[in-house]
Point group: C3
Amino acid sequence: MDVHEISMNCKRTEFVGTAVLDTIGLCIAGVDDTLLKTMNIGTRYHALGLFSSRTGAAGQLTAMDEAVKSTDTEVLSIDFPRDTKGWGGHGNYIVIGGDSVSDVRDAIRTALELTNKYAGELYISEAGHLEFAYSASAGSVLEKAFHARRGQAFGFMAGSPAAIGLVMADTAMKAASVQIARYMTPSLGTSHSNEVILALSGTADAAKEAVLSARQIGLELLIAMGSYPEIPGTPYLV
Amino acid sequence: MDVHEISMNCKRTEFVGTAVLDTIGLCIAGVDDTLLKTMNIGTRYHALGLFSSRTGAAGQLTAMDEAVKSTDTEVLSIDFPRDTKGWGGHGNYIVIGGDSVSDVRDAIRTALELTNKYAGELYISEAGHLEFAYSASAGSVLEKAFHARRGQAFGFMAGSPAAIGLVMADTAMKAASVQIARYMTPSLGTSHSNEVILALSGTADAAKEAVLSARQIGLELLIAMGSYPEIPGTPYLV
Amino acid sequence: MDVHEISMNCKRTEFVGTAVLDTIGLCIAGVDDTLLKTMNIGTRYHALGLFSSRTGAAGQLTAMDEAVKSTDTEVLSIDFPRDTKGWGGHGNYIVIGGDSVSDVRDAIRTALELTNKYAGELYISEAGHLEFAYSASAGSVLEKAFHARRGQAFGFMAGSPAAIGLVMADTAMKAASVQIARYMTPSLGTSHSNEVILALSGTADAAKEAVLSARQIGLELLIAMGSYPEIPGTPYLV
């Protein structure tokens, strides 16, 4: 077998597309019955959408949150593998279901497109990384992943090495009147990533202000470690 | 102390050898009593064989399965560290025991030799990795590691990013009449690796067919992510 | 926003300093109440010191052990993220508290300085890594992290790939009369790192002898894997 005989232009019906951060989107029209039972995600849907990345979680989950909201699909499972290709954070692995294969494919396609946008709030330096996300109105995916309050604005911040994440969390809490949705550390809620993560719910103004304050101090601290971060997209939060 | 005064040609009695994928094989003739009790692997054997790699698990476990079958030794513990040197999978750490030091050394030596062969079904690209394994007749090591049915043929597939692994699993289940031995995800059974893993038991023809079908679609999807995989050996499954 | 407008010379009051191994030291003078409750580290102190590294744990914890001993501060939490920037070990994340902000800052500053020294017993090759630590008299940090007996000498060894760590542990136990304080493997006590770790308590002579014997065989085995280790400092144990 010669792998170089395989084309990069994939013709499989399961293939939907790719995005930045080693993200792939796939779709299974009629998943195998025995496998579906073993997956333990319910047996209502045989049309499954699959989405996973080596690096990043909050941006992709925010993308998937919008994708599920805009289609007749449901999120079935969310995993946070310990990954980031040698860096201190997570990747992601999301399974969604729907009655219609075309709805599922649409949702995955939308999530891939939005991932290219939301990757703009990921900052990776030689020393560590920062990740931010914001949604004006959290849906079922952000609720399932980060216990966000449905319909409220959502803010997210992760910092690595972990100490930076805690100072960002403290700064965010002092910057605006927001509620803690989820708090994660290397030993709590993460897959042992080198991060402190804070997810917030609140009004749009407060959640945005909290995230922007955290981003400013987080970048100052990360850069104080001696190198400037690269950004796999364009920062979009203002 | 100058580390460069130490020779690469190790003369320690504990050293058995090395193999690809940062694999080392070691042997302790008479392990310390207190340490043995703390290890919690039983106290029957004082001759221990140790085997571990930074990258890969199924190939090495298949190698060790044959090694234990062909010697008077027993597998005592199997760990799956989250490793692969920055990639999304596991390494391995295996402890075996025997009444005879020479049996234990033989088993470790055999496992090292076979690892160089079985590494041929590991595919590592810029985006992710795939790993496959096959045994015509699973023994105690594959039973302990992956719940393989002893004496039946065994098939294994792991894909990263995880979504690729699930499509491979679905493809395998549809390709042949096989039973699921073990199903693993970033949150279930793995050490938070970015993989979906399926281990199968069945007839030789069915297990082989399932693995080959999974390999074909897995390679097509991995390559669709934009780079060709490197292979640390020579693919041997046909 | 342009990240290059941010200076590497950080002026934030939270910033204390950096050290080798992507280590950062921070201080929060009055942590947010809600965040403090969520952190679950007690509510006695509002002045928190934060310390974390991408790579290494034992050296930094030994540094923090001395820092806490020499100031009026207390260790509140210790996490072992699975990190080392793609290698098989841990980073660290430590939170300390104190009634006085200046005590907390002093402790973090001391820990940063000592980290540059204790990093001298970390050995990282292409294949794996070794880490050693020694304290003549263990304090509260080493007790909390590794169950060291307070006031006794403390020895630490970690080897990756894991098999090397077990041979080091066996060698240490046979070299001197010491007690096992903590034993860790990829599945036990670690965050799935590719290491076997042994922490020891005993007399100063015995603990030192155990660590030096482990270091010698560990280096021989690591180098037998085909490359010499780099050392991020100067070895200091003799």
